[in-house]
């Protein structure tokens, strides 16, 4: 018993080290690549100042200003120095000031937009997972019925389509052809107070973006995988035995099939929940949705490296934590897996 718990502790310690190290090397790698971006925020600001009409600047003061700006943004100095500054900032979760919205801290900008992204992705991930799995189980159980075949055909068509192509198709159908939904944006009224009308307006605007994420997911991956798993479970000996014993179909479906397919599907849910901080960048941009993805997009084009790094860091933490928790908890959910 004591030896067993020691093994568990060793496993947890090992996984934790790998978890931290993965994030660390991920951050370093992205930092190096982001640093190589040719867009320089300071030069952009200076250029904007100098080229504005009627502006006359003393060359020396411009040089001084440039030096000061580099210092404020922490971009100057030797590469190793600025890397160390950056790493210290990452671990206090203060990414330094945003260069285009100076002096607002980058993390503040990101956190302000985070509820939009998390709201959209959390809702669509959960809806995708539940409806996809339910439909998959039903289609797997009644696999010879006509509706099951039709669903399979739809799923095979929808699954490989990336969500942003789906977004274009949905815009074409519902905003252009039928003109039911708005073309984009997060809300169309100026919020005065937080009331029902505002909430409804937000939901109305997020329906199409959510649909572009849900359709390829729910009718795609979740559906197809849970359908395959159901059909596999139905051929197992214990399910056959339950049928022979004369148990009702609904009982078999609930107690034998659903339980067994929930295990692998929970893994997928955990992984996709880890991904919700990264945002669905393209959907947000196509629908002009005010989430984290739009910030990342703007940051890349304006050379706002701290804001970009804050977004990337958040999404890396999300994915890594999802995998990490899954590795720790999986042996608890599934007793067949041992801590190695």
């Amino acid at each position: 018993m004591i030896r067993g718990s020691k093994q568990v502790l060793k496993y947890i310690a090992e996984r934790t080290i790998v978890y931290v190290a993965t994030i660390f090397s991920g951050v370093t790698l992205t930092y190096l690549i982001v640093k190589a971006m040719p867009v320089d925020a300071v030069e952009n600001i200076l250029f904007g100042m100098i080229s504005s009409v009627g502006a006359v600047y003393d060359p020396e003061s411009v040089i001084l200003l440039r030096k000061n700006l580099y210092e404020i943004f922490g971009i100057g100095g030797s590469p190793i120095e600025s890397y160390l500054i950056f790493i210290r900032r990452v671990f206090t979760f203060d990414f330094g000031p945003s260069t285009i919205a100076y002096p607002t801290p980058a993390s503040e900008i990101v956190f302000k937009r985070l509820p939009w992204t998390v709201g959209l992705l959390l809702a669509s991930t959960l809806i995708t997972w539940t409806t996809g799995n339910l439909l998959g189980v039903i289609a797997g159980y009644f696999r010879d019925r006509k509706f099951a075949r039709v669903l399979e055909g739809i799923a095979i068509t929808l699954y490989p389509i990336p969500y942003y192509i789906m977004a274009l198709i949905l815009i074409f159908l519902f905003a252009y052809l039928l003109r039911i939904f708005p073309l984009g944006g997060g809300l169309s009224i100026i919020p005065e107070k937080f009331d029902l009308q505002l909430v409804l307006n937000i939901i109305w605007h997020s329906l199409l973006p959510a649909a572009s994420l849900i359709l390829p997911g729910a009718l795609g991956w979740s559906f197809l995988s849970s359908r395959t798993l159901t059909m596999q479970t139905l051929t197992e000996d214990y399910t056959r035995y339950a049928e022979v014993r004369g148990l009702p179909g609904s009982h078999i479906l609930r107690r034998y099939v659903l339980r067994n397919i929930l295990l692998p599907q929970t893994t997928v849910l955990a992984l996709s929940l880890g991904g919700i901080f990264g945002g669905a960048l393209l959907t947000e941009i196509i629908f002009a949705y005010p989430g984290v993805g739009s910030i990342a997009y703007r940051a890349i084009f304006s050379g706002d490296i701290y804001t970009l790094m804050a977004v990337l860091f958040l999404s890396m933490i999300g994915v890594a934590t999802g995998t990490y928790l899954l590795d720790l908890l999986y042996p608890l959910i599934d007793p067949r897996v041992r801590y190695r």
């Binding site: 790698l29 190589a36 867009v39 990336p162 192509i165 274009l168 997009y297 970009l308 994915v319």
Partner: protein, 290 residues
């Protein structure tokens, strides 16, 4: 070389068999053949599909212009052919590089085990947690001036090798413990021979599935980048067609639906056809493993 030729022969005979027996594979492969034909036609294009205003503008589909013309004055049919060729080239380059890096690393990690396995999987995990699209957006911004069609394919493979690598590794791990591998090792076969003669036939099917999936991923990623304006905007790809239709032509607002519909429908057909092929191979592989 002889071994490569043998594997090619195996793949060809597998395709012929699947084409005869598997409906999904046949359907997908037929669409791919049509797409390839269109791509090949682009070599005989009567107009330069990269210049503007060579055809009348905004013509709806007609006998003379089967897919209509765009506001940029391009015949959409020939632009589509060139786009299919370029998009497939990008995808093929990515699949060739990424799936083979994945195959190689997966084999090494799975066979060697121990510290090598840990280091390689650590590297793989690092790349898995980095969000792929933003990373590529940064990289393409940095290298914007040097982008060419094959180079873009190479760049996309930076983010597409980790999953194949993990897939192959877990395949190898489960195969390694089988009796016939032990027999081969005990009879004094070298590691490279064990890989090529004993393991490869089993992994080949998975490798093909990974290959087709990487093609899908690459075409999707390129069009995603292009929609953001980060692909090669002065060349023709399916994504770039969408970019111009959306951002320059405002095709939807002005009712020039055929401009947007042409690349979007083609993309959907491409995705579905490659997915059907991958499903067909997958069904065969599952039967083989059982």
């Amino acid at each position: 070389m002889a071994i490569a030729a043998r594997f090619m022969g195996k793949i060809v005979s597998l395709f012929v068999m699947l084409y005869r027996r598997n409906l999904k594979f046949r359907l997908g492969f037929t669409i791919i053949l049509i797409l390839l034909t269109l791509g090949f036609l682009s070599f005989f294009s009567p107009t330069n599909t990269r210049t503007w205003y060579v055809a009348p503008r905004d013509r709806p589909p007609s006998l003379e212009y089967p897919f209509g013309t765009s506001s940029m004055g391009r015949d959409l049919f020939w632009e589509l052919c060139a786009s299919i060729r370029n998009s497939l080239t990008i995808a093929f380059v990515t699949a060739m590089i990424a799936s083979h890096i994945g195959l190689f690393l997966g084999f090494i990690a799975g066979i060697r085990g121990g510290i090598i396995d840990r280091v390689l999987m650590f590297l793989t995990d690092t790349f898995i947690i980095i969000p792929g699209l933003p990373l590529l957006m940064v990289v393409t911004t940095v290298l914007k001036r040097y982008l060419t069609i094959p180079f873009l394919g190479m760049l996309i493979s930076i983010v597409s090798w980790p999953w194949p690598s993990r897939q192959v590794r877990s395949m190898v791990l489960s195969l390694r413990e089988r009796t016939f591998i032990h027999t081969a090792r005990l009879s004094g076969m070298s590691t490279s021979k064990v890989i090529l003669q004993e393991l490869m036939p089993y992994v080949l099917g998975w490798h093909l599935v990974n290959f087709t999936n990487t093609i899908l991923f690459s075409i999707g990623t390129e069009s995603g980048l292009a929609i953001l304006g980060l692909s090669i905007l002065d060349d023709n790809t399916l994504g770039v067609m969408i970019y111009w239709a959306l951002n320059w032509g405002y095709a939807l607002f002005r009712g020039i639906w055929w401009w947007l519909a042409t690349p979007v429908v083609t993309l959907v057909l491409t995705f579905v056809s490659f997915y059907l092929v991958s499903m067909g191979i997958n069904e065969y592989v599952h039967r083989l493993v059982r």
